[in-house]
């Protein structure tokens, strides 16, 4: 090898040399050679030192042309020929050679990088964040019919601690997600409010601000299942999908919380079983629809009354004077046919608003 291979690049950089390089790295891969052997191959075949540096996987090694490993703290020269380990990744493999790469250098870099990527995937695994969205693994974890060992393995691949609780998360129109409970704060019950209000969502923010995009709640409407041991995640997933039905866009046309936690629904959650989307709505919902059609302010005003602690707070919420709110509610009560300013009437309003939500397709 020393002469034949070492002189490879000194020869005409012809197809023969490239074919030998390809065969060399193919054989290393076939025999499951390690990282150092691959970097050594690049150094010996190119006739100059080669180095691998991948910060994400904490891999750094450098091999000289005599095959000996001599790592360095010095940063690589940006002018050296280099290759990334993924199509859009940063350079991770360098040949320490000045000047433009020749054809054989390019083949060496390409084949060595591909072989190194295989070894890293096999021995280090992909970074956990890369797995967090892996739909096949999440699907396995949420499938109650999958064997427990398989589900535990999937949890591990997703970077979940099998001993720690996790939430199943149901985004509207997106693939299921699983989040470690440690990534979300504990539920904060808010006295005197409808469960799953926007306030409670704020109390447990998406984890986007903890710097790990892989652990963040998805944006948009999201139902969150209860925190459970990983093997009980299929149940959490069912609850998350139910919670999703209680979410709203948070707009004037669809006021309400975008994030709903199943474990904050309490008995309200039972309504989901009673109301079939698209079916004939119950009388209170029909009355509500008629009222909403009557005035543009109706829906937001009724939602404010149902979801705040006092009429004063409701007036602030919809930015009207207290007396204006009183006038509006008098009009609404006439249309609905029941009072909304008594405890019983307010509960009836809350239920009507919720059933209207659940009945939508």
């Amino acid at each position: 090898m020393k002469e034949l291979a070492g002189r490879l690049t000194a020869l005409d950089p012809d197809a023969g040399a490239a074919v030998r390089v390809i065969a060399y790295f193919d054989r290393l891969t076939e025999h499951r050679a390690g990282l150092e052997a691959l970097v050594r191959g690049a150094a010996v075949l190119a006739g100059c030192p080669a180095r691998l540096s991948d910060a994400g996987r904490r891999v750094r090694l450098r091999v000289e042309t005599d095959g000996r490993r001599r790592d360095t703290e010095q940063p690589p020269d940006p002018d050296w020929p280099s290759a990334a380990l993924s199509p859009d990744g940063a350079p991770a493999l360098w040949l320490e050679r000045a000047g433009p790469p020749n054809v054989v250098d390019a083949v060496i870099l390409e084949r060595a990088a591909a072989a190194i990527r295989l070894v890293l995937d096999r021995t280090r695994g992909r970074a956990p964040s890369a797995h967090a969205d892996d739909p096949a693994l999440v699907e396995t974890l949420l499938d109650a019919t999958a064997p427990e060992q398989i589900r535990l393995h999937a949890a591990g691949r997703l970077g979940l601690d099998p001993a720690a609780p996790a939430h199943a998360v149901a985004p509207l129109g997106g693939p299921p997600r699983v989040l470690a409970a440690s990534a979300l704060r504990a539920p904060v019950p808010v006295e005197g409010r409808l469960p799953a209000s926007e306030d409670s969502a704020r109390a447990r923010p998406a984890a986007a601000d903890n710097g790990s995009a892989g652990l963040a709640l998805p944006s948009g409407r999201v139902g969150v299942g209860p925190a459970v041991p990983v093997l009980e995640l299929p149940g959490s997933w069912a609850a998350a999908r139910t919670a999703l039905r209680f979410t709203a866009d948070g707009t004037p046309y669809s006021p309400g919380p975008r994030v709903v936690y199943a474990d904050e629904l309490g008995g309200i959650g039972l309504l989901a079983e009673l109301v079939v989307p698209g079916a004939e709505p119950p009388p209170d919902v029909r009355a509500l629809e008629a009222a909403v059609a009557d005035a543009p302010w109706m829906l937001t005003t009724l939602h404010a009354v149902a979801s705040t602690a006092s009429l004063r707070a409701a007036a602030v919420e919809v930015s009207v004077h207290h007396s204006t709110l009183q006038d509006r509610l008098g009009h609404a009560e006439a249309l609905l046919g029941w009072p909304v300013r008594t405890p019983q009437g307010r509960l009836r309003l809350q239920l009507a608003l919720t059933m209207r939500h659940l009945g939508r397709t």
């Binding site: 034949l4 291979a5 290393l28």
Partner: protein, 324 residues
């Protein structure tokens, strides 16, 4: 008996892929002439003998065996030795299956040791089979050693500190030289370094069958080499131990031996058996079997990690030997 071969070391497998055209596993009698002039040999012999200016190099023609032609010795002396006194000698015997090669082949390994240890390298040219069957090669090797011991002072060497060393056929000739020096009461080397030595003309161990058609120097090539050296006598009842040291029945009284061999090569079992026989005869021997190594891997792929370990073991043994 299983014929499943042990796997090659990953790096060495890749190197084999690289050199397979230049160094095929098989060798037939018809191919000897072409191989002598082929790229595989050039690859092993084409090197800087001064090791970057560390050595001064001389080709010295000295008398051969009685009634035989002169022989050529390649003498490499350190340009700036660490001491003024006489230096130890590594007496090197090249490989090539008894049929190919010259005294440049594989001498780089000896030069690396000598560079580290401050020694002189003497590499002997010997006549090749089949034109020159046994005992021509071993007689030339023996004559070269006698000259080196007798003229030690002339080349700045210490005749009391000669290590004999060789790879493959050169390892077999080195083992035979140790037997010959013992039996003829010649100069006594302080050690014999036998790298993947070619020891047994019978060519019938499990490893010879296991590795047929694989790696470097398979069973067919081995048959060619031994037949070239011994003709009809190969494998028969009357083969001299000076031709095939595995035939020796008395391995007592030999200098300390270092033996190494790859697990994935023809010679594995005969080398292990020879080391065992040395111990059973009350001798001193160090044996290394390198997993997944093909024949001569440390010469063909000196950069590979297994080769680095193998070279380190060789130089460590020499360092201990010469420190005594």
């Amino acid at each position: 008996m299983t014929l499943t071969p042990p796997p090659f070391d990953p790096e060495l497998a890749a190197v084999l892929e690289m050199i397979k055209d230049a160094v095929p596993p098989q060798l037939t009698m018809d191919e000897i002439e072409a191989t002598r002039n082929g790229p595989g040999l050039a690859m092993l012999a084409d090197l800087d003998l001064t090791l970057g200016g560390v050595f001064e190099v001389e080709d010295r023609v000295v008398p051969g065996p009685e009634n035989a032609p002169d022989i050529s010795l390649l003498i490499c002396r350190p340009v700036a030795p660490a001491t003024d006194g006489p230096l130890p000698v590594i007496y090197h015997v090249h490989g090539g299956g008894m049929v190919i090669g010259n005294n440049r082949v594989g001498v780089d390994a000896a030069l690396r040791w000598a560079g580290e240890l401050g020694a002189i390298v003497v590499s002997v040219e010997y006549r090749l089979a089949p034109e020159h069957p046994h005992p021509a090669p071993i007689d030339d090797v023996y004559a070269g050693l006698l000259w080196t011991a007798d003229h030690a002072e002339e080349i700045g060497a210490d005749p009391e500190r000669i290590v004999i060393a060789g790879a493959s056929a050169g390892g077999g000739l080195t083992a035979a030289l140790a037997l010959l020096l013992r039996d003829r009461k010649g100069p006594r080397p302080i050690g014999q370094l036998l790298m993947c030595p070619m020891l047994d003309d019978r060519n019938d161990t499990a490893s010879t069958h296991q590795m047929a058609g694989l790696g470097v120097w398979d069973r067919t090539a081995n048959d060619t080499g031994w037949t070239a050296l011994l003709g009809e006598r190969r494998g028969g009842p009357d083969v001299s131990p000076y031709a095939a040291p595995a035939r020796a029945t008395d391995l007592s009284g030999l200098p300390p031996a270092f033996l190494d061999v790859g697990s994935a090569e023809t010679f594995r079992d005969e080398v292990v058996a020879y080391a065992t026989s040395l111990w059973q005869a009350g001798g001193v021997a160090e044996l290394h079997v390198w997993p997944g190594g093909f024949h001569g891997f440390d010469g063909f792929a000196p950069q590979a990690v297994l080769s680095q370990a193998c070279q380190a073991a060789q130089v460590n043994w020499l360092r201990r030997l010469l420190a005594e």
